[in-house]
Symmetry: C2
C-alpha cells in the first residue's frame, strides 16, 4: 500500500495513528505531498483525490481511497477485528457519531481557522480566505473543546469503553490546535489531562512529537 | 426506535431512505423537530444532539445516535447484512470515501449556500450569515455536480456495483438542490438521468415527492 500525505499534518496523523494501532506500518510506503508548495492543488494530485486533501491511500491494485474515515474503515477491516470502528451496530453508530462530531466541532473548525484567518499555507496556496468565517470557526472549536472536556470529566474515551477512531479524531484536533497556537482554555482540565494521557500511547507519541512546533 | 427529524429535510431523507432500503420503517416512530421554528437550536433538543442537527436516532435503551452516516452504519449493521455500508474492507473504504465526498462537494455545500446566502430558515433562526461564504459554497456544489456527472457517465452507482450509502448522500444533495432552486446545469445530462432513475426507486420516490416544492 502507498499513502500520499504530509507527515506533520493533523489529518495524515489520523491515518498514521490508525496504522500504528493496527500494526500495519511496515506494509505501507509513504509519498510526500508538500502542502506548503500547494502540491495537493495541482493537477497530478487531483487525479488521486478530487477534494485536494491528504492523506490518500493507494492499494496495490491501484484503488484509491481518500478521506481519513474511509481509510480507517478500510485498514480496520483488513484483519476482521475492527477495534477502531466498532464491532456491534451500537458501537459502530456511536463511534461514527463521535468521529463526525470531533470533525465538525473541533478538527475541521480549527482547519478552517488555519486556512481562513491565519496565513495558513502561505499566500501562494491560500488563494481565497474568508477571515470572518475563520474566526467564527475558531470560536466554534473553543466551544467544542468545552464539549469534549465535559465528556472526559466522565469518561476515559470519546465513544464507549475503549480507544477508537473517534479518539484519534479528537487527538488530531488537539495536534492542530497546537500547530495553530490555539491553547486549551485553562478551565478545561479534563481535556488537557486526557490529551496528556493519549500522548503516552505509542501510536500517538511519535505523531505529536513530529507535529509540535520546534 | 425513535427518530427526531424534519420530514422534508434533505439530511432526514438520508436516514429515511436507508430505513426503507433496510425495510425497518415499521420499527421507528418519528418526532417532529420544526427547523423553521428553530427547535433544533433550543436547549431541549441540544441535549439530544450537541451539533443542533437532525436527524437523531434514539434507541429503546435511551442511546442517542446523531449524524446520518452514524445512523446508517447502525441501521445497516442490525441484520448482519450491510448492503449500504459495505461488506469487504475495499467496499467499506470506497463507500465511506464517496459518501464523504458527496457531503463535502455537494450536500454540505448546498446546505451552506442555503443557510448563508439565501433567507434559509428565516431571520429568527439564521442569526449569523456569511453570504460570501454561502455563494462560494454554491459554486463548489455546481462544480461538484460536474464531478458526479463524470462518474455517472461511466457508472450506475457512486461507489461500486450496487446502491449504497454514498448514492443516498448524492440523492440528498439533489433533493437539497431542488429545494433551493439550484438546477443541474444542462450539460450534466448523466447526473440528471441518474437522478431520474433513482427517483424510480421505491425508497427514494416518496422522499423526493415530499421534498419537492409545491
Amino acid at each position: 500500500m502507498t499513502i500520499y500525505d504530509f507527515p506533520i499534518g493533523p489529518y495524515p496523523a489520523r491515518v498514521r495513528i490508525a496504522l500504528a494501532e493496527k500494526n500495519l506500518q511496515a506494509q505501507v510506503s509513504f509519498v510526500l505531498v508538500d502542502l506548503r508548495k500547494g502540491q495537493h492543488k495541482q493537477t497530478e494530485f487531483l487525479k488521486l483525490n478530487y477534494s485536494d486533501t491528504v492523506p490518500v491511500l493507494e492499494l496495490d491494485d491501484g484503488t484509491l481511497i481518500a478521506e481519513c474515515t474511509a481509510i480507517t474503515e478500510y485498514l480496520d477491516a483488513l484483519d476482521g477485528n475492527p477495534i477502531l470502528t466498532g464491532k456491534t451496530p451500537r458501537e459502530k453508530g456511536l463511534i461514527h457519531m463521535m468521529n463526525k462530531r470531533a470533525e465538525i466541532e473541533l478538527l475541521d473548525a480549527i482547519s478552517m481557522y488555519f486556512h481562513h484567518a491565519t496565513p495558513g499555507l502561505g499566500p501562494e496556496v491560500e488563494t481565497y480566505q474568508n477571515p470572518e468565517w475563520g474566526f467564527r470557526q475558531r470560536d466554534k472549536a473553543l466551544k467544542g473543546m468545552g464539549y469534549f472536556n465535559d465528556i472526559f470529566s466522565r469518561h476515559h474515551f470519546v465513544a464507549g469503553e475503549t480507544f477508537s477512531m473517534a479518539d484519534i479524531t479528537v487527538i488530531a484536533g488537539m495536534i492542530f490546535a497546537e500547530l495553530v497556537k490555539l491553547p486549551v482554555p485553562p478551565e478545561y482540565q479534563a481535556l488537557a489531562a486526557w490529551y496528556e494521557s493519549m500522548t503516552q500511547r505509542p501510536s500517538v507519541r511519535d505523531r505529536v512529537a513530529m507535529s509540535r512546533p520546534r
